[in-house]
Symmetry: C2
Subunit: 282 residues, 2 copies
């Protein structure tokens, strides 16, 4: 298929590479061209704008930064929807807002374009290994048609419901992460401030009832003194801000969001989420 | 060895059974005798008091309800420390307070008795399958001497440090549970109130970055409409109250404790911890 791919950061670059490997004809656009150079070298066609990257394509995939970026590439002047042809598919894989996904879906439908929201979990490792979980909202028939594409990028591919349902599911995932992350951080802060050996505590509690991907995969790095980002504080904060736009009163994740916001204000928003340990002066 | 075993509830009963299977000579005491009957039928000697159960024993193991019960059986009139012989070992496997563990340790040492605090994680399943995690505080030489006994009861056996360190580690474990449990509950409440199919959301988020034992092992039961206890609301609340006696400011688990306390006040303290879903009117 002729695929336009917009957003070749760490995630998008790996994903576009898999589509190339699978034999698809790829056009790419990214704000910073150098981040797409490896794909261009492998035969992807460079485009100067999202609009150019959308013309005469069967599928246009986006994975950009923030909801405002999604809005701009889809709905802005010379954006995707102005340029995509009738009958084409547009798939936003950015973690973005459910309401924006619904707006894009409606606007696309007016233009006879099929829109899906399909955010992912699994991070850079999942993108590299093509083992992402993909959470899809939109029309189920559109989902079924694009499933072979999703299967190139991920392993656990779930149709969640109508437009926005993929984004809502991603928000639920980030809410669960917030609790598990904070619980693990508080546990090791409690241990350290009580004079325990945090490594021995990790050995004891990381495999049983308190076990979580956040504890073993993320917080453990912080215990070892490594605050490099697997997933940045500012990105989890962004995702939780999207979730907090919902009216539903959920105090735990909102409190975690306040803590992450404080870390951003302290200038460590680009550290990994294990930096939540630092909120408690670990 | 001659072992006194005090507290034959769901956990203790299974544990005492393993010690019998391993060929040890067991004396048992429990407030409600009927709950020890199966052990008596298998050859355990019934005792009428904790004191009687402690006399002339090599090791006395306790797993009772609340810290006040621990205090009573160890330090009360005709209790364990009054009756245990010099050179014997006493091991409290109840989840109890670090300060009380230290008091018992000091009082025992004055009487030339070796005391360990050794709370467990893994629940009734872990007790039945002898796969408990055992978190041990006290003198390391005492730990080493009793390790063969612990190995009959559990799989992951970790020496955490001086008296009280086992209890502090268990508190850390419960703090991590609180966050993971609340995160998973909030995630599915968010999903349901946003009109998603919670089973499809579970399929999508339970194996990746949001994965936790709490989500898959506990909260899933609530999603299926099952609020039977694996671990009761009132017991997690008890454990978090012990943890909250520490001065360290950890807001997330304390907020979860407030929510669990509300559930107790609502009369559902004996439901499983997945009933935290009900706090949010799931």
């Amino acid at each position: 298929m002729k695929i336009g791919f917009i957003g070749t950061g760490i995630m998008g670059n790996a994903m576009a590479g898999h589509l190339l490997d699978a034999g698809h004809e790829i056009a790419v656009y990214n704000r910073t061209k150098s981040k797409a150079q490896n794909l261009i070298d492998r035969g992807a066609k460079w485009c100067e704008s999202p609009g150019e990257c959308s013309r005469d394509r069967d599928v246009i995939i986006t994975i950009v930064g923030y909801p405002k970026d999604v809005e701009e590439v889809y709905l802005g002047a010379n954006g995707i929807l102005e340029n995509a042809r009738e009958g084409s598919f547009v798939v936003d894989m950015t973690t973005s807002s459910p309401e924006l996904a619904q707006r894009i879906f409606n606007e696309a439908r007016n233009r006879k374009i099929h829109a899906l929201d399909a955010p992912v979990t699994g991070g850079d490792t999942g993108a590299k290994n093509a083992s992402l979980t993909i959470l899809v909202g939109g029309d189920e028939s559109d989902f079924n048609q694009l499933k072979p594409i999703f299967e190139i990028l991920g392993k656990n591919i779930v149709y969640e419901g109508s437009a926005g349902a993929g984004q809502k599911t991603k928000a639920a995932n980030q809410i669960a992460i917030a609790g598990a992350l904070a619980g693990a951080c508080e546990a090791f802060v409690f241990a350290k401030k009580n004079g325990l050996d945090v490594q021995k505590v990790f050995d004891a509690i990381s495999t049983g009832s308190a076990a979580s991907t956040q504890m073993s995969g993320i917080v453990k790095r912080g215990l070892d003194g490594n605050f490099d980002p697997g997933f940045m504080v500012k990105h989890l904060a962004k995702d939780l801000r999207i979730a907090s736009e919902s009216e539903i009163d959920l105090p735990i994740f909102k409190l975690v969001l306040e803590e992450l916001t404080k870390l951003e204000q302290d200038g460590i928003g680009s550290e990994g989420t294990q930096a939540l340990l630092k909120f408690y002066k670990f």
